[in-house]
Symmetry: C2
Subunit: 494 residues, 2 copies
């Protein structure tokens, strides 16, 4: 693959000088259109070997465009706050909001390539990581991010020469470390692994652009022109690229296989027994979150359910068992302005717990395949791709060591009506009933279809949904507590 990029292409100083002015002007204008229209965000990744001029290229891009609307991210050692979350968390923090550009000096591709080149992970593992990267980038594109990836290529001979030159200059010698020479010794391995990684993550939506790094002028003009061309095209185009979908009819879920219908809602428990049981499970949960083992893990709970199904009450009983300083409850309502400028899942990533802590989501990322689907807030193409994206997100949590529990609280339509009416009567609960609640009620069958799809597509062996019969509040809460305790026990005693 790289052979085609060892042709020694160059640009003369005259050619460069003639090209630079108009290119810079056009880039700056595109950047200002980007800022004004806020139609999309731009991610520019610069990869490649040491000495290939990555740092210089990023410096020139900052000089050509307006650095006030660009964020440049180097790949530092992760901070402790970053290490306590899934590996991608730190990149989610660096994503640009709509209207801005983020430049990445190294990115989510880097560590899998390095680990593979040093034999720390198997080839299969590296390839699996690259598949995840590919899915992540495809998601970014569908969420309105322009993803541009440049790979700066240098031949072995030239890399050595470049590294020597950097090392010999007292101003830059600090930039060549022992690690860099160790990497250089593995040039051939890196070349092979990188080629495979590039191949696996070159998609129609976010292709790699290989750049011969022999001549700085050629390299700069190539990168600049590519950015301009793609940015201009996206600014001038209508809408965001979306995956093709075949319009599917709303599924009729047969009564006998509809998990919501076959769920036995009948269990009831006396108040006295409930109180004894509740205390027992809360005590167990409290003990488990205080174990040494949990201090390296974290807990993520999702509460979904029809209105008035008792999510709030369930959450309160869980919170009561935990140290208040180690749990955060996130009520999911309309996204804020900063959240709307980011990919859909961003507003959930930002609330992920640190080690030894818990985050409880009162409604969650499933909003996209429930309310947004039913109400038509999300296009079909968008909610249809959400299942995969959600599974990938939760899988990252699991692989990081977070314990994920998802509860669907189920009540009958009759019980919901009773609770709505009761709420309307109780003074301090009145705030909870809105016209919207009554409207949502009318869409019960549509919601039921959406819920069935959700359960079918996102309940996995590792991260199953727990269907909570919530017709009786007491027994519903006990199911939640008991499930959490069991899940924690299983995870911590592995």
């Amino acid at each position: 693959m790289f052979e085609a990029f060892e042709l020694g292409r160059t640009i003369s100083k005259e050619e460069f000088d003639a090209a630079e002015g108009p290119l810079r002007e056009a880039l700056l204008e595109a950047q200002m259109d980007l800022k004004a229209s806020k139609k999309l965000a731009v991610v520019v990744i610069v990869g490649g070997v040491k000495g290939a001029g990555k740092r210089e290229t990023l410096g020139v891009l900052n000089a050509w465009m307006d650095p006030r609307f660009i964020d440049t991210h180097g790949l530092r050692e992760p901070s402790d706050e970053e290490r306590e979350r899934p590996a991608m968390w730190r990149f989610w923090r660096m994503l640009p909001p709509k209207g801005r550009i983020s430049l990445f000096h190294g990115s989510w591709h880097t560590m899998p390539i390095v680990h593979r080149a040093f034999g720390r992970i198997s080839n299969a593992r590296m390839e699996r990581e690259m598949e995840r990267v590919r899915d992540f980038e495809t998601m970014l594109v569908h969420e309105g991010v322009l993803v541009l990836k440049f790979w700066m290529h240098l031949s072995k001979k030239l890399q050595k020469k470049r590294m020597r030159a950097i090392e010999d200059d007292p101003l830059t010698s600090w930039r060549i470390t022992k690690q860099d020479w160790e990497n250089f010794e593995r040039y051939d391995t890196f070349r092979k692994v990188s080629a495979r990684a590039i191949q696996l993550t070159s998609t129609a939506e976010a292709p790699w652009i290989l750049v011969e790094a022999t001549d700085h002028r050629h390299q700069l003009i190539t990168v600049g022109r590519h950015i301009l061309e793609h940015l201009r095209a996206r600014l001038d185009a209508e809408g965001t690229p979306r995956p093709a979908v075949h319009a599917l009819p709303v599924r009729e879920v047969a009564e006998e296989v509809n998990p919501l219908r076959v769920l036995d809602l009948g269990g009831r428990i006396e108040k006295k027994d409930y109180e004894t049981e509740l205390e027992r499970w809360q005590g167990d949960l409290a003990r488990l979150t205080r174990t040494k083992a949990f201090q390296k893990r974290s807990l993520v709970c999702v509460f979904e359910g029809m209105d008035a199904a008792g999510k709030g009450g369930g959450i309160r009983r869980v919170v009561a068992a935990l140290d208040a300083g180690r749990v955060k409850v996130v009520p999911v309502a309309a996204p804020t302005e900063e959240e709307r400028a980011q990919p859909y899942l961003w507003r959930f990533w930002r609330h992920l717990p640190r080690a030894g802590s818990a985050t409880i989501f009162d409604r969650s990322w499933y909003g996209r395949v429930l309310v947004e689907r039913v109400e038509g807030f999300a296009a079909q193409a968008d909610w249809m791709r959400a299942y995969e994206e959600i599974n990938a997100f939760e899988d990252q949590l699991r692989r990081h060591g977070s314990i994920v529990a998802k509860f669907w609280l189920q009540i009958s339509q009759e019980e919901q009506l009773r609770r709505f009416e009761a709420r309307a009567e109780t003074a301090f609960k009145r705030f909870k009933i809105t016209d919207e609640d009554w409207r949502n009620r009318e869409k019960w069958p549509k919601y039921e279809a959406a819920i069935c799809d959700m359960l079918e597509r996102t309940s996995t062996e590792d991260i199953p949904w727990t269907l909570v019969p919530a017709e009786d509040k007491y027994s519903g809460r006990l199911v939640i507590l008991r499930t959490l305790v069991e899940r924690m026990r299983e995870a911590l005693e592995e």
Copy 2:
């Protein structure tokens, strides 16, 4: 002071049960009004010795109110991201937005008290810290935060008994550490230091409420009622408490002492000389930011100046000297929705650099005493208190080890006009000229008065303003680069 809180006040179970229901209902209703009106944010601090039931109180508050709209913060070890910023940074991250409540289990008072009790800091230093805390809390109140501080008091004898009881219970024994017993041995010292700290930070705006912690029921009802009373009063009141100000006439700055008028704008430099000089200073700056010493420091630059004074051009020349991955440029425009829900300085705190990095503010917190003052966006009471708050903020940066440089770029009215006209002609700079720019121009004398006040009140020996004669772009940029290099040299060679 504490003697009055060793009376052994108790509440019977019957009294408690009778009081709890109505109190809880009223608290929940107040919380919902808070959420709906978004008029203010609430900070509740719970301090006091170990065993005084702080954790239990926070648990009960979470149970009485809706935990979905409460954030509870325990005082953990600061993370590395927190240690790389001024000490208050981690508390700014924890401040609630309007409409929400933050509960603090320990707070900004805690560490100065602990350090003093162990003799690690002098009494004078502790008192100085408490003065800063007092100013911080006063600022919060003026920014629309209700600050409620509870100090849970226990006699020495009772504390010992409580700690023993916690230790003897297998479920809670982990909560008593060696450190806790070491603290207990210093009970008398802690009592004295705490009394002094409480005295110094009990203000009319944010008084401490001492609570006898002998009887849990008494303690809970006392805290609950205080929160209800204060929250209700603030919700029902009009507006935010503001400091009294005496309306001052706009100052006439005499020509001969007006720093803007006496500044010599005449320096000019030839392009060739400029390029040589620029390269020299950029090289020096690059070297300085790459020194080992700077990796423990950080750089904060502020660029202010009349429209078209050349802030953008100056910033680009600074950015060009730095590693793009270690510098962030923050263009200060209208605050976002999340920023508007926080105290004024919050949106600047969030961008403070990590160790070894720089943040450049293109316009800054000085907006409050410039544009917001002149245009009447901020009330007089608010911009008048801003000088002190800004000085306190920058002083925190300095004490943390950040290098702070503030540039005022000065041009004549004639030069501004020439640049406006030139911009209107150049295609790719046209975006920069708005009607607002022309309007601002008409307010030149008012801006000049505001600038003179700003320079006089916020230029300190440690963090001076640099007045940059920017009539000639080249020489202006050189002044900026040279100043930065000198400031860095001075700071790093200390």
